[in-house]
């Protein structure tokens, strides 16, 4: 499992948490919602999201939402595969 997390630079709890949450939430989540849930500085969150985008785990862009133009994130196919792999490994550890 550590190998999987290291490969995708997910050893940071916040980054792993963002990926797991996006897997369970249908569609896009706004940057401000993530920030209010995590209570962390904008710059740190932006850095995490950019890194995860570079790894191909997230789609991170600006989009038109109900509240106007906002930065939004969504998990990619690769991100979903990583979470599925993680879930399988977790099952083996927990049971």
């Amino acid at each position: 499992m550590l190998e999987l997390l290291r490969r995708y630079k997910l050893l940071n709890g916040n980054k792993l948490g963002i990926l797991l949450a996006l897997y369970h939430v249908e569609g896009y989540v706004t940057f401000s919602d993530l920030q209010s849930a995590l209570d962390m500085p904008k710059s740190s969150l932006h850095k995490f999201l950019e890194e995860m985008k570079e790894m191909g785990l997230l789609e991170y862009r600006r989009a038109i939402t109900d509240l106007g133009v906002r930065a939004v994130v969504r998990i990619t196919k690769r991100g979903q595969e990583v979470v599925k792999e993680y879930a399988e490994l977790i099952k083996k550890v927990k049971f």
Partner: protein
């Protein structure tokens, strides 16, 4: 890894509160959507009296009601898919694998019996329906991901009491329920967006 799951739960709880908000607003608007046709029928009856042209009749209203109900049930399923995925995932706090199947079966049974056995038992079936809505919404709220709020209790207990009573006294109670649900929906969305 545990820190990651805890972080995920925090994000998911914000999104699920917004999900509840959408659910409240959706069903808060149901009486209005279902009864638009009643207004249309009444208007058409007026036209028939004057012009002698039959435009609508009660079977059309039943068809409209079933169509609206179908759309709302489909939207509810769509809204709650995130909840279902979370409560059956490894992020769950309390395991509830049969939640979706049990919920769907219960409502299908109650609504079918209500339609088949008709209006005389409306109080009984509306009470069973209200118990189902209250129980299943509370079980989603107490799944461990969202914090129960006063507006959840107001919307659900209000529905549990007023919905069956609306078939005994006055349908105006359904308007009160609508307002309470829309209020709970707006408050939930505000909380989800960090302004509640």
């Amino acid at each position: 890894m545990l820190e990651g799951e805890e972080t995920a739960r925090r994000i998911v709880s914000v999104e699920l509160r917004k999900t509840l908000g959408r659910f409240y607003i959706l069903w808060g608007s149901f009486p209005a959507a279902a009864n638009i046709f009643v207004v249309a029928v009444a208007t058409a009856e007026g036209a028939r009296a004057v012009l002698g042209i039959a435009v609508f009749s009660m079977p059309w209203y039943v068809l409209w009601f079933i169509m609206v109900l179908g759309v709302y049930v489909w939207l509810t399923f769509h809204i709650f898919i995130s909840f279902y995925r979370v409560v059956t995932s490894f992020l769950r706090v309390k395991s509830n694998k049969w939640y979706g199947v049990f919920t769907a079966s219960y409502f299908l049974l109650v609504l079918t019996l209500w339609f088949v056995l008709g209006g005389q038992l409306a109080v009984v079936f509306s009470a069973l329906y209200a118990v189902g809505v209250t129980f299943f919404t509370y079980s989603a709220i107490y799944s461990g991901f969202v914090r129960p709020r006063y507006y959840d209790h107001m919307a659900l207990i209000g529905f549990l009491l007023l919905f069956p009573l609306s078939f005994v006294f006055t349908y105006a109670f359904q308007l009160v329920i609508s307002l309470m649900w829309i209020y709970a929906g707006v408050k939930s969305l505000m909380e989800g967006c960090g302004g509640g």
